[in-house]
């Protein structure tokens, strides 16, 4: 037996996560895209802390629709606002939208998916599947629009009856969450059903581990790789959907976003004014692209088939 143990010592100690991280960092494209995402995050953080892009709303009536210059790196818009600052500021908006939507939608999806999968074949599963089915039945933009409105109405009621303000600010977030969680829930459900039949879950039953603990200690952590990837997908979808929703008039409020800038650009581009369009679509494109590649690399790194 000593031989075997000697052998064992030569293997480096690593968890699944460190292994995934190590694997991830070997992926050149993944690392580049990850650093881009980090850079964006840093920019967003700086905006949130008020370090830069503080003058995004300032008007310069004499500098209407100018091109790039020393003062305005990416030119100005029709109100003479600095497009560069607006694009930078929008980074914060994008992260706000992306993070809120990705986190909540993934969490909701994880919990529902887990319960549904664990209780597959019972009425609990049927119930959750029913809800998911109902939501999936309604076309995406229509559902988002409907939820957005309902939340607005609700926000007004809340404001009127309880004096809660600012709820309507999250109308779009809630609308997106309401549609995004189902995909995660379905995936997690499938995975949980698969895991549920693995012997280690049976082993947990055999030593008398109670149900909730089995779900959240034994099963849920084994879906983390899916959740992480789903969260990144939700993040990207949220940012991209925001553009369309802004165009439709359901976007973020009281702030500027790439979506709003592109919506503005829809009128300007044919007039030969491209500043808004280029700035916003470039910022958006680079982030979404980086995030997509990052998500891919992450998926590769976390793929349990490849890990073991």
């Amino acid at each position: 037996m000593t031989n075997e143990q000697n052998k064992q010592e030569t293997i480096k100690k690593e968890t699944l996560w460190t292994k995934a991280v190590r694997k991830f960092f070997r992926d050149k494209m993944g690392v580049i895209s990850f650093s881009i995402v980090c850079l964006y995050a840093l920019i967003a953080l700086g905006v949130a802390c008020g370090f830069w892009a503080t003058e995004w709303s300032e008007l310069n009536p004499d500098m209407k629709n100018t091109g790039p210059s020393a003062d305005f790196w990416l030119g100005t818009n029709i109100l003479g606002q600095d497009i560069y600052q607006r694009a930078i500021f929008s980074t914060k908006t994008a992260f706000e939208v992306g993070l809120v939507v990705a986190l909540v939608a993934t969490m909701l999806g994880a919990i529902v998916g887990c319960l549904s999968g664990y209780f597959s074949g019972t009425w609990i599963d049927e119930f959750f599947l029913w809800i998911i089915g109902c939501i999936d039945c309604i076309p995406f933009y229509l559902f988002v629009a409907a939820v957005g409105f309902a939340v607005n109405t609700l926000a007004q009621n809340l404001n009127a009856s309880f004096g809660i303000e600012g709820f309507e600010y999250f109308a779009m977030h809630i609308a997106m969450i309401a549609t995004f969680w189902t995909a995660t829930a379905r995936l997690v459900r499938g995975e949980v059903i698969k895991i549920k039949h693995l012997e280690f879950v049976e082993a947990a039953h055999a030593i008398g581990v109670p149900g909730p603990k089995i779900i959240f200690k034994h099963i849920l952590p084994n879906t983390f790789h899916i959740l992480l990837v789903q969260a990144t997908i939700a993040f990207v979808s949220a940012i991209k959907s925001e553009v369309i929703l802004s165009y439709l008039g359901l976007g973020v409020k009281n702030t500027v976003s790439w979506g709003k800038m592109i919506a503005e650009a829809t009128q300007e581009v044919p007039a030969g004014i491209y500043s808004n369009f280029f700035a916003a679509s470039a910022f958006l494109f680079v982030l979404v692209m980086a995030f997509n590649i990052f998500a891919d690399a992450l998926q590769d790194a976390l793929d349990p088939k490849k890990v073991s």
């Binding site: 037996m1 031989n3 075997e4 052998k7 030569t10 293997i11 070997r26 490849k306």
Partner: protein, 326 residues
């Protein structure tokens, strides 16, 4: 027994993994002669299946590849580096293969007849009708009852044993000279395994082909093969006739392996003899003999340099060990 049907020389198979390049098979050589049955045995991960796949050029690439100096000669024709189109003509025609898991090895969405006819029509210039006739004949040969009905069945409608019979029928439908059987009975129950092994023996005699039987089951080898190649960790440990290997094993690994197999109808022993330790990781191989750190007879020499396998031309036997049992 002069010119071998298949001659493998210095076969190297490498895989590009996240741990870097690993050699799953490292410079192995062996010959297969017409009509003989050779067992290729070893524990999981020793490279036996990969070796059989490499003969048909089926190593998934990337990540796998066959080393540059390797040579696989079939009837004197070099297969390594042969264009894909030419290899394709040989697959299923000159050299056939059957796989471990008959459930997944057959395409689930086509009838067995369809799949068999595809093979027959590809390699023999016959029309659909004739191909069907040949397929039915083949199924009859492998002992499938009511073959003209079964030919229209989908794989999932057949039992495991039946599927393996279909697989064999398909493999033999073009009268190959060499059959590669990759763990053909591992997924089957013992009673079915017996049926299938018997069938294979019959078919081999009928068609006079050579069979390479890849398996980890020493019992199957002992009953079915004439010659045995024992592999360990990408190397060939020992080659010899069944009699030599089972009655007078020379390599400590072969000996240990044979000892640790539980057997029926012997006096009950308290504890089984074992080989201590585990198979080394392919990414982290010892410098010398790969069995050295599990071997009771290991010396400094063993740890320094791997022993070479020398095969006696006449007996086609040999052992790769500095301190073989005599």
């Amino acid at each position: 027994m002069t010119t071998p049907l298949l001659s493998v020389k210095d076969l190297v198979i490498e895989f590009n993994t996240e741990h870097g390049l690993i050699r799953a098979v490292d410079r192995i050589s062996f010959d297969i002669f017409e009509g003989e049955t050779v067992g290729l045995v070893g524990e999981s991960g020793c490279g036996k299946s990969i070796t059989s796949l490499s003969i048909l050029g089926l190593i998934p690439s990337p990540p796998g590849r066959i080393g540059a100096e390797s040579s696989i000669k079939y009837q004197g024709k070099e297969l390594v580096g042969l264009p894909e189109e030419q290899l394709r003509l040989m697959r299923g025609h000159d050299i056939s293969m059957i796989f471990q898991e008959p459930m997944t090895a057959l395409n689930p969405v086509f009838t067995v007849g369809n799949q068999m006819m595809e093979v027959i029509m590809r390699h023999k210039k016959v029309n659909k009708k004739e191909a069907l006739k040949m397929a039915v004949k083949m199924l009859e040969d492998v002992g499938i009852p009511a073959p003209e009905k079964r030919v229209h069945n989908y794989p999932h409608q057949l039992s495991g044993g039946m599927r393996q019979r279909v697989m064999i029928a398909m493999a033999l439908s073009c009268n190959p000279h060499l059959l590669l059987a990759d763990e053909p009975t591992t997924a089957l129950d013992v009673t079915i395994q017996a049926q299938v092994m018997d069938l294979m023996g019959d078919m081999q005699k009928k068609q006079n082909m050579a069979v390479i039987l890849v398996t980890h089951d020493l019992g199957v080898v002992a009953e079915f093969c004439q010659r045995v190649i024992v592999m360990y960790c990408g190397h060939i440990a020992e080659v010899g006739t069944v009699d030599q290997i089972f009655n007078r094993p020379q390599h400590p690994y072969t000996k240990g392996l044979l000892a640790s197999v539980p057997r029926v109808l012997e006096e009950k022993v308290e504890f089984l003899p074992t080989i201590s330790g585990t198979v080394p990781d392919l990414g982290n191989l010892p410098k010398g003999c790969r069995f050295a750190d599990r071997c009771e007879r290991a010396t400094e020499e063993c740890n320094a340099k791997p022993p070479q396998l020398t095969i006696d031309e006449k007996t086609q036997a040999g052992v790769a060990c500095y301190h073989p049992y005599k």
